[in-house]
């Protein structure tokens, strides 16, 4: 029984090896990577399709309406209709636009977004490349997306696109700092930049409890900070200023239509999944099960379950919050996120050198919570915002 479950867990690895067995050894590495890449492309494109439906339906339910429910069972074939629509739409390129760059921007965006998956362990032994510098690779690829966004905004020759691109780049650069700083605590603790060894470290258990980094004070703070920064990095509400539709139409992709527009959507969602997957890898134990007695469930199931949970949270947040303003966004990054991530680094160091026990928990917890409260209170007081009382005239 146990053996069979293990086989189920490793089914993709086994299938891969079995298929490659029929090929001459010379082409095996190449074919193996092509197979894996194709699988990742298909899986995450499919996840994108499902997410669009889930998002629209979820937002619909949050807003007390149905959401798409006409195409296919419960509207779940809606992405196919959307895809056909965007494929058959006319591809309009503005006349003064820089045609080459205008064309390259969505391609680069999607390519960069997909490249990030190379170092994300989707399941046990399921990773494209186990790199020594995996985390570094991820952030390096992430910075390519900024370039794509700039290219889109600049090449459109539209003021709205340009404003959107400026906003997007400023936002992505600002939030890359806390994003990287928030993930450094994990690297400090695990002593490795390899995503595989980071997950392997977390996939051990004390009793039934896993050693996920999120279950430590610095890990929790790091996770929260990482998620806030990731929301901003992937331009999700409430940080969706670059495409703030009520202000600058659609931001940097205002002048895109048809399938290129769809590619931007694809790129954004794929990027969002990638950052979420990175958060899972760094803090939520990657593919490891939340309890030791649940380890018999295949590892990739846990990975996607965690990913879906994060996506649903993104949708929930989007359905609730209004958008921030540019200066407030920047203030949040530089005045709250940055000091907090730096303090979190210190906390992680203290945690590392203190003996395990309740005292360590207490001190490190205080080191995270107290500055957070002080900082947010200080910011709130300086801005003087409050729920006001009103006078009435009879």
């Amino acid at each position: 029984m146990n053996l069979k479950l293990d086989q189920l867990d490793q089914i993709f690895v086994i299938l891969n090896n079995w298929l490659l067995g029929y090929l001459p050894p010379v082409v095996r590495p190449l074919c193996s990577s092509i197979l894996a890449i194709a699988l990742i492309l298909v899986t995450f494109a499919l996840l994108f399709a499902i997410t669009t439906v889930l998002e629209r339906k979820g937002l619909g339910r949050i807003q007390n309406r149905f959401g798409p429910n006409r195409v296919g069972p419960c509207g779940f074939l809606q992405p196919i209709a959307d895809g056909i629509k965007s494929l058959t739409k006319e591809d309009i390129v503005p006349n003064p636009a820089d045609h080459v760059v205008h064309f390259l921007a969505p391609v680069l965006l999607v390519a960069a977004a997909f490249m990030a998956y190379a170092v994300l362990p989707i399941g046990r032994n399921m990773i494209l490349v186990d790199m020594n510098a995996g985390v570094l690779y991820f952030f390096a690829i992430g910075s390519l997306m900024e370039l794509a966004v700039f290219m889109a905004g600049w090449s459109s020759r539209s003021k709205y696109s340009l404003l959107g691109a400026m906003r997007a780049i400023a936002q992505m650069i600002s939030y890359e700092v806390p994003l990287v700083l928030a993930s450094i605590v994990v690297i400090m603790q695990s002593g490795s930049l390899s995503t595989v060894s980071i997950v392997n470290m977390q996939a051990t258990y004390t009793g039934i409890w896993p050693h996920w980094f999120v279950f430590t004070p610095w890990g929790f703070a790091g996770f929260a900070l990482f998620m806030i920064a990731a929301t901003a990095e992937s331009n999700r509400s409430p940080f969706d200023l670059p495409e703030g539709e009520s202000e600058i139409i659609a931001g940097y992709y205002t002048e895109y239509s048809g399938f290129k527009f769809a590619l931007f959507f694809l790129g954004e969602y794929i990027g969002m999944f990638a950052t979420s997957a990175m958060a899972i890898t760094l803090f939520l134990g990657g593919w490891s099960a939340p309890f030791s007695f649940l380890t018999w469930i295949p590892s990739y199931f846990w990975f996607f379950a965690k990913l879906l949970t994060i996506i649903l949270t993104f949708i929930w947040v989007r359905g609730t919050l209004p958008r921030l303003r540019m200066d407030q966004l920047m203030n949040l990054a530089w005045e709250f996120m940055l000091p907090m991530t730096l303090l979190n680094l210190l906390t992680a160091g203290v945690w590392h050198f203190m003996p395990a026990g309740a005292l360590r928990w207490l001190i490190c917890g205080a080191m995270v919570v107290v500055p957070c409260i002080l900082l947010s209170r200080g910011l709130k007081q300086r801005k003087k915002f409050q729920v006001r009382k009103y006078r009435f005239s009879e």
Binding site: G58, I62, N64, F66, W316, G319, T320, L321, K380
Partner: protein
């Protein structure tokens, strides 16, 4: 503490998310082609012409007095009076509209034509799926499309139609009495009928003003 308001909001949306699955109060959407909103009696959309009996040509109540044409604020009604006469709803000989067109692309559903009509012949319809491929000819409704039976009127506005029917029954009874009287005094009949018609139109007018059409008070 920063974040309290945000968390409160998140709880509220979660409540609505779940609530939309259990409570009809939260999910008010009606799935249009399959489900339809319940018919509201007072609803109004575009005008139509009422006819009595089965023959739309013969039973048409409209006497082509052209008041509605004159009073219509956007001037979307076009009437051409007939040359000959036919008996109207109370059996009196009247003109009838040779042409009666309403351009519903111009009509703004204000119901003023209904309020000013002294003959209870133009009423508001409730149909709303009137989309058409031809935006000019397709939205110009002619007499044949406009004429709808009194039974139909009774189904869409029962209270109002009952009042109108009662009024007509009274008028018909009066007219019958008049016919009877006319048979007794044949000579004076024609002159008398002329004055009666005038009087009748005035009483109807006063009636419409005192108790406007459309309400449930009558």
């Amino acid at each position: 503490m920063v974040g309290k308001g945000i968390i409160k909001g998140m709880v509220e949306t979660a409540r609505n998310f779940l609530g939309s699955y259990v409570s009809k109060q939260r999910l008010t959407t009606i799935q249009y082609p399959e489900e339809r909103a319940p018919q509201i009696e007072a609803a109004r959309n575009f005008p139509f012409l009422v006819f009595d009996g089965t023959d739309a040509e013969q039973g048409l109540r409209c006497v082509a007095c052209q008041i509605c044409e004159k009073e219509c604020p956007p001037k979307c009604i076009f009437i051409e009076k007939s040359k000959d006469k036919k008996p109207d709803a109370t059996g009196k000989m009247q003109f009838y509209p040779a042409t009666f067109n309403i351009d519903i692309s111009v009509c703004m559903s204000c119901q003023i034509c209904v309020e000013v009509c002294p003959f209870d012949s133009i009423k508001m319809d409730v149909v709303y799926d009137l989309s058409n491929n031809d935006r000019f000819a397709g939205l110009l409704l002619h007499k044949q499309q406009l004429a709808k039976s009194n039974e139909y009127y009774n189904t869409i506005h029962p209270t109002e139609a009952a009042a109108v029917d009662a009024h007509f029954a009274e008028e018909r009874a009066k007219a019958a009495a008049r016919v009877k009287a006319a048979a007794e005094a044949k000579l004076a009949a024609e002159a008398k009928a002329a004055t009666d018609a005038k009087a009748k139109s005035e009483t109807t007018l006063a009636d419409t003003q005192a108790q406007p059409v459309g309400g449930g008070t009558r």
